[in-house]
């Protein structure tokens, strides 16, 4: 701006001479900027002349929405024919028949016929026989104080025959099973020949596992008739309770009674039980309250126990594979003639009557179970039990050992044991092994302690379902008479044995097969029942049919 003023002053100097003469400077042109520069001078606006060609466009374009070429009318939409797979057939058989016999006459029969197979209901008629009719080795004590065969034989028999009908009805909330049968147990040895006639009925109704209300009620009635003996046995057991979300609360019970001409005995047990899971633990906590009753003092009278633990604990170390287990249990066992006869068909040679309680005051065990490679299963336990008034097999004699005879007696003792069971299950091979070691504090001058070791195994191999071959073994170490302390008598033995057998089966068709079995291959003196040993090696052949 300064130069503008200077310029203006100069301009005034040049053009304002008259004013200067008047000593005035009346013209100060502050707005005559245009005089020294082009400010304010604007170029004329030129009108744009647009050539016609600029206004012409190439508009040759199809403005219609384009039509697509024919794309086909078919829109793929899968055509679904929903094939239904036929329900799986489990090929439930209607008839099964298996029979056989051979040298060393071991006739056997197993027949099952299912005339009713309707939805949830099944009825089976069955008939079974297993027996031995032939020579037994005469057992006598030798110079080594072993009860062994003396080289002589006698004729005898051991046979179990049964016919019956069982039924099954399962519905969504439970299941009913029932069985009624007649059973004949016949035995003949050097001391007796006895036929037992047993009629039995048993039934059980129980709830399905997932139902909220838990019930399990079983009844059993058995009537045994033997010359000079009639025994009726009644039992009801089971429980009632509630299945909660992850636990179960129930009250188990057992009431049983036996009625013979000599008297009656029975027991009521109540077991409140709580079953639940806590993390990897599975606990089954029960407490058994037992109330035995009896008709006279002949029975095991003085050591009544009323309360027993009934506790089982599992701990899953490796889920679905390895479990630690432990239990503390106990209880009374009502031993009747009928129940003892099931395990020893020659019972009349040992006892003529039997009715008493055996008590397992406490039984503590711990072990492991699980599987290896999901094929082999095992269950190994060790434990301790105290048995009171336990019936064990022994001997008696009239004048000397040479004239000894089978006998039995009751004793109380502690039992320590280790027990291992294992098995293999596959399509080709079924194998089971059971090994047991046990030691007792039993001491008696006429009752034998159980064998220290027993070993049992069975292998059955299957070639394509047509050929089967198996081997089995039942072995036990000797049984020894543990004399009471201070007793100077000699120690008596029942020798150990190994009963080795072979089995073969050939299937002609899917329904029919022939089989052969050879037993006691080692021709050993197998005193599975004391003082009773079959003659020796034997074989049976038979056939099997099913449809």
């Amino acid at each position: 701006m300064r130069h503008t003023i200077q310029f203006s002053a100069a301009l005034a100097l040049l053009v304002g001479i008259p004013a200067m003469a008047q000593n005035l400077n009346p013209v100060v042109e502050v707005t005559n900027m245009y005089e020294q520069a082009a400010t304010g001078i604007e170029k004329p606006l030129q009108q744009m002349a647009v050539p016609d060609s600029l206004l012409k466009f190439n508009l040759d374009m199809d403005y219609e929405v384009r039509t697509t070429p024919y794309r086909g009318a078919y829109e793929f939409n899968p055509y679904l024919v929903q094939l239904r797979t036929a329900p799986r057939s489990y090929e439930e058989q209607t008839l099964f028949l298996r029979l056989g016999a051979g040298y060393g006459f071991h006739p056997e029969l197993d027949a099952v016929w299912s005339p009713v197979k309707k939805d949830n209901f099944r009825v089976n008629l069955y008939g079974r026989h297993q027996g031995y009719f032939g020579h037994y080795r005469n057992i006598a004590i030798d110079n080594d104080y072993y009860f062994r065969g003396d080289g002589t034989l006698y004729g005898g028999a051991d046979a179990l025959s049964s016919v019956g009908v069982n039924t099954l009805y399962g519905w969504d909330k439970g299941m009913l099973t029932a069985d009624i049968h007649y059973r004949n147990i016949f035995s003949s040895d050097a001391f007796q020949e006895t036929a037992h006639h047993i009629a039995a009925l048993q039934a059980r109704v129980q709830s399905a596992p997932q139902t909220s209300f838990y019930y399990n009620v079983g009844v059993q009635a058995r009537h045994l008739v033997r010359e000079g003996l009639k025994e009726t046995y009644l039992l009801s057991d089971g429980g009632l309770g509630a299945n909660l979300r992850r636990s179960q609360l129930r009250l188990d019970y057992q009431v049983e009674g036996v009625f013979t001409g000599e008297g009656q005995a029975g027991e009521l047990s109540l077991i409140p039980r709580y079953v639940f899971q806590a993390g990897s633990f599975s606990l089954n906590l029960g407490l058994k309250a037992s109330f035995p009753f009896r008709s006279d003092e002949y029975f095991y009278p003085t050591h009544d126990h009323y309360l027993f633990p009934d506790v089982y604990v599992d701990y899953q170390v490796i889920p679905e594979s390895f479990v630690l287990q432990a239990s503390v249990t106990g209880g009374n066992q009502l031993e009747t003639y009928g129940s003892l006869l099931e395990g020893n068909h020659f019972l009349p040679s040992f006892l003529r009557t039997a009715l008493d309680f055996e008590a397992e005051t406490v039984h503590v065990s711990a072990g492991i179970r699980g599987n290896i490679a999901e094929r082999m299963h095992y269950n190994v336990n060790g434990g301790y039990a105290f048995r009171a008034n336990a019936l064990e097999w022994g001997y008696g004699y009239d004048t000397s050992w040479a004239s000894s005879y089978p006998s039995a007696g009751r004793a109380s003792y502690s039992l320590f044991y280790a027990d291992a069971k294992a098995g293999w299950t596959s399509e080709r091979l079924d194998a089971d092994v059971h090994l047991r070691y046990q030691r007792t504090t039993l001491s008696s001058d006429y009752i034998f302690a159980p064998p220290a070791f027993t070993a049992q195994f069975k292998f059955l191999y299957n070639w394509g379902g047509r050929i089967k071959a198996g081997v089995d073994l039942h072995a036990a170490t000797e049984r020894v008479l543990q004399l009471p302390e201070g007793n100077t008598d000699v120690q008596l033995h029942i020798p150990g044995y190994a009963d080795l057998g072979l089995y073969g089966e050939y299937g002609f068709t899917r329904r029919m097969a022939a089989w052969i079995r050879v037993g006691n291959l080692l021709n050993m003196e197998v005193q599975r029942t004391l003082f009773h040993a079959e003659r020796g090696i034997y074989f049976s052949i038979g056939a099997q049919y099913s449809f």
Partner: protein, 973 residues
């Protein structure tokens, strides 16, 4: 114990001297005696007996089997029987078709946990369950493994399922292979054959279908027959045998029994292919209602059918329906594209196109769309829209380039005509981009680009282009080519490089044509003048006055007079300036010339003439500063003539008026009182002035601004511009800056420099203009932006104005401006909202305009029904521009709906009442011609178009009627 003895006794029967307690249960189970197994396991507990009990229950299918199995798996997870129980539980669930649980259970088992004989069944049922559960990939993987196992009962089912899996995934070749394998099993023979046929069909082996399908058809189950017939029919169709195709259709698919949607769809397709569009559309319409894949396809095909029926409006709806569904991405995309195209065709609604482009990644379609939009815009001479569309193109096809360049050029022209020089530059640059520098269009574009630069004050940029063009001898024979030196000269002139300016003006004047010769000659005089070469200047001005005489062009005379004065040649000065006495007082430089004439008279002692000159000036000038100067001069003359009282009166009049000359007047008054030796009187006078006698800087600024304001108010725009600029330059922090900028804005606006004016208004508003002027500035700012095509800015300004305006008039301007700018900015929703209140305006024209804006906005957003309602109303006034356009659009709508029958009647009715609305009437007749063409009446169509061509006079360069007619006539030839 007693219960175990029972079991043992049974076990002994089975082949060994010893067995586990549960062995009888196992053996009975293995022999299929499941009930016996359960009975034999009675009372036994543990993993194995309970496992066999659960397995037996499953085999017996007891009602509680699942519960038993579940309980077993829960209680004995470590048992080796778990895989078996799980397997058979799964088998049982498979029979119950509970495939999800089967999948879960079988997935928990490994093959090697099962018996070998169970593996095929396990794998098949696992795969099948996966398939039924929807896990198809896994199913395929598992079932493929089954097919590789030794042949079993499950091999064929696996192959079949794999075939179906591939088939349903449209892998027909693989599917056929599997079906071939499955077909070996008699259970799957028929089905496999059918599927193989369908695979072949989908593989487009139509010959196979025709060859094998007929034999298969008779034996096919009833439910399969229509499907089979359709494939055979379509195969014939594809092979070109439409008759046999239709025969199959008629025989098997057009029966009287209830049709499914699929049947209608196929019927639609058949009719479509038989070009029976009505029937096709009827059938497709019956399928569209359900929003599934078939519905989508039907809507899509319906769209095409309606296109063939020329009913674009209905076609748009159909395509839109198809585009809403997601079942087929391809159909969706194409339907959307067609919908968008139709929306654009029918209502210029670009939103669907924009949505299309944002939703589908289709670059090529994007270019196609924008080309199409540009083409339509060009057809309508809407260069703004064309340029907008072209802006979105990345690659320009050579065929498009010519249109593209022209569109940008013409849009630039529009902007320049609006005064948007700055905005025009990029358009011109783009226009020139695709043509070589020697091309006439390129040169013209660049010429105008230079002009735009010049108008924007970028003289160097302008000169660069102009010099280049000059060196190329560009635009020969054209006015622009001739003007190149003139334009170059001006760039130098504006930069003060008078030597170069002088040269280039000289070159221009030496040329053949000198459209602006007078101006160039004047500028030559200016160049001399500003270089202080006054004789040269005088000579140049004299030449201008001689060669281009104009009594009202006082500038050369004024300059020549001043130059003569500077040369102390007062006589010459008087000679040059006396012309002012014959000029109009409104002529530029009238006041300045008179003033200088008066001063020249004073200098020559012609006081009488001088007094007359200053008196005339004082009375005629609208410039108060000039009037003040005239009074001051009159005072000086009175003083010189000894009329001190008159002099004092005149000087005091100047002092009284304030202004920048008051100081001079006060000095003169002091001088008079001194000469009278009457200082008291002088002091009394000074005291009477109070503070006005000695002004502070603030007062001086006020005086300065006041002077400028007075000049502005006098209407001398050029001088006001200069003075206001000087004020703003002199006072960097001006007290009256906002007001000065407002006045400057007014000056620029008056002189046509609209962009600069807008800048000044904006600066004024930002500078804190007082309320009264603010309202006015905002109004002008909004108006200017609207005029310059900055509709978005205009809309914002109108919005502010609407909020701030106190004057009803401005409120009304804001409302109308808001509506117009929203409409022009294509802010359709805003336009509708702004138009709404104005549809009830008292002013009929404004009301009509509002209705028009609302209707067009509805139209542009595809709200067709609402738009047509408004158009119908507007069309009742067909002699108005809006009514005429509305009448045309209503007629066009009939055409778009294929209601050709009504068009002729409507057009003639419109013609009767169209008044002077020839453009829209002509457009309506074009639609009439189109409707004749669509109905196959080519002769009538041609006659209609030719009558338009011969009878129509375009209203201007942007009139597209004849272009439209030419396009149609070309098509008809």
């Amino acid at each position: 114990m007693k219960r175990i003895f029972v079991a043992l006794s049974a076990a002994f029967l089975f082949s060994s001297v010893w067995a586990q307690e549960w062995d009888a249960g196992r053996q009975y189970y293995q022999k299929g005696l499941y009930a016996a197994s359960i009975a034999s396991l009675e009372g036994q507990h543990g993993a194995m007996p309970e496992g066999y009990r659960a397995l037996s229950a499953l085999a017996l299918k007891l009602d509680n089997r699942q519960e038993l199995a579940e309980a077993y798996l829960q209680n004995w997870p470590e048992s080796v029987l778990v895989p078996q129980v799980s397997f058979f539980q799964a088998m049982d669930l498979f029979d119950q078709e509970d495939y999800q649980r089967v999948l879960l259970l079988l997935s928990s088992i490994k093959e090697d946990q099962l018996q070998k004989s169970q593996i095929p069944e396990y794998s098949y049922k696992l795969g099948y369950s996966a398939y039924r559960a929807g896990e198809w990939q896994y199913a395929a993987q598992v079932l493929s493994a089954v097919s590789k196992l030794p042949y079993s009962d499950y091999t064929a089912p696996s192959c079949y399922t794999l075939g179906y899996l591939n088939y349903s995934h449209e892998r027909f070749r693989e599917a056929e292979d599997w079906f071939q394998k499955a077909g070996g099993d008699v259970r799957f023979q028929d089905l496999a054959k059918y599927y193989i046929l369908e695979c072949r069909f989908n593989e487009k082996d139509y010959a196979y279908v025709v060859r094998n399908g007929e034999a298969m058809l008779d034996a096919a189950p009833q439910d399969r027959k229509p499907r089979l017939a359709r494939m055979i029919s379509e195969s014939y169709l594809v092979r070109g045998d439409v008759d046999r195709a239709r025969a199959y259709y008629d025989r098997h698919l057009s029966g009287t029994e209830a049709k499914t949607r699929a049947d209608y769809f196929y019927a639609g397709e058949m009719m479509y292919l038989a070009q029976d569009w009505e029937q096709a559309a009827d059938n497709f319409e019956k399928v569209c209602a359900v929003p599934d894949s078939l519905g989508q396809m039907a809507s899509y095909q319906l769209g095409y059918s309606r296109i063939q029926l020329k009913n674009k409006v209905a076609a748009l709806e159909a395509f839109h329906d198809a585009a809403k569904l997601d079942f087929s991405p391809e159909v969706k995309e194409d339907a959307f594209f067609n919908y968008a195209k139709l929306a654009f065709d029918l209502g210029k609604d670009t939103a669907p196109f924009q949505e299309y482009l944002s939703r589908f990644d289709t670059k090529s379609r994007g270019d196609q769309i924008y080309s199409y939009m540009a083409m339509v815009a060009l057809q309508n001479h809407d260069y703004e829209a064309a340029v907008e569309a072209y802006d979105n193109l990345d690659v320009l096809e050579p065929a498009m380039q010519s249109n593209y360049m022209k569109a940008y050029f013409l849009r630039a022209r529009q902007l320049m005509e609006m005064g948007s020089w700055r905005a025009a530059v990029p358009h011109l640059k783009t226009a020139a981009y695709y043509s070589p520098s020697r091309d006439g269009f390129n040169q013209l574009s660049r010429y105008w680009m230079a002009e735009a630069y010049y108008r924007d004050g970028k003289y160097g940029d302008a000169r660069g282009i102009l010099t280049d063009l000059y060196n190329l001898s560009a635009l020969p024979g054209q006015a622009e080519g001739e003007l190149l030196p003139y334009q170059i000269a001006y760039t130098y002139f504006k930069e003060g490089n008078y030597e170069q300016a002088l040269r280039w003006f000289g070159i221009y004047l030496g040329g053949r044509h000198s459209q602006y010769g007078g101006d160039a000659q004047t500028r030559i005089g200016d160049c001399y003048f500003f270089r202080a070469d006054y004789p040269g200047a005088i000579g140049a001005y004299e030449k201008k006055m001689r060669d281009y005489p104009d009594p009202d062009d006082l500038y050369p005379a004024f300059r020549a007079g001043v130059a003569s004065g500077l040369l102390q040649d007062d006589a010459a000065k008087i000679r040059f300036l006396e012309g002012v006495k014959h000029a109009s007082p409104a002529a530029p430089y009238y006041s300045e010339t008179y003033y200088e004439l008066g001063r020249a008279y004073v200098a020559t002692g012609a006081h009488q003439e001088a007094t007359e000159a200053f008196t005339t000036l004082e009375k005629t000038t609208k410039d108060p500063s000039m009037a003040t100067l005239a009074i001051l001069e009159l005072g000086t003359i009175a003083r010189n003539q000894g009329r001190d009282e008159d002099a004092l009166r005149l000087y005091k009049q100047v002092v009284q008026g304030g202004g920048d000359h008051a100081e001079d007047a006060l000095l003169a008054i002091e001088s008079i009182y001194r000469s009278r030796q009457d200082p008291d009187a002088y002091l009394a006078y000074v005291n009477s002035l109070g503070g006005d006698a000695h002004r502070s800087e603030e007062q001086k600024e006020e005086v300065y601004f006041s002077t400028a304001e007075q000049i502005f108010l006098s209407g001398d725009i050029a001088k006001a511009t200069t003075t206001l600029q000087a004020y703003l330059e002199r006072y960097p922090r001006p007290v009256y800056g906002a007001k000065a900028r407002f006045y400057l804005g007014e000056c620029y606006r008056a002189s046509g420099a609209l962009e600069q004016a807008a800048d000044q208004y904006q600066a004024a508003l930002e500078g804190g203009l007082d309320a009264a002027l603010s309202e006015s500035a905002l109004l002008q700012y909004a108006h200017l932006n609207y005029t310059l095509g900055n509709y978005g800015k205009a809309y914002g300004a109108y919005l502010r104005l609407q909020e701030q305006a106190r004057l009803d008039e401005n409120k009304a301007s804001a409302a109308a401006g808001l509506m117009r700018s929203a409409f022009r900015a294509k802010q359709w929703e805003d336009a509708i909202a702004a138009a709404q209140p104005l549809t009830g305006a008292k002013d009929a024209a404004l009301q009509r305009e509002a209705l028009y804006v609302r209707a067009k906005s509805f139209f542009s957003t595809s709200r067709r029904a609402e738009a047509l309602s408004d158009f119908q109303e507007l069309s009742r006034q067909p002699s108005t521009p809006e009514g005429a356009e509305a009448a045309y659009l209503v007629i066009q709508d009939l055409f778009d709906r294929a209601q050709f029958g009504q068009i002729q009647e409507r057009v003639y009715a419109f013609a009767d009442k169209a008044g002077g609305q020839n453009y829209w009437l002509a457009k309506a007749f074009i639609v009439l011609g189109d409707s004749f063409a669509e109905q196959g009446n080519t002769a009538q169509a041609k006659a209609t178009f030719e009558s338009i061509r011969s009878g129509y006079t375009p209203s201007g360069a942007e009139d597209d009627v004849l272009d439209q007619v030419d396009v149609r006539l070309r098509k008809l030839q």
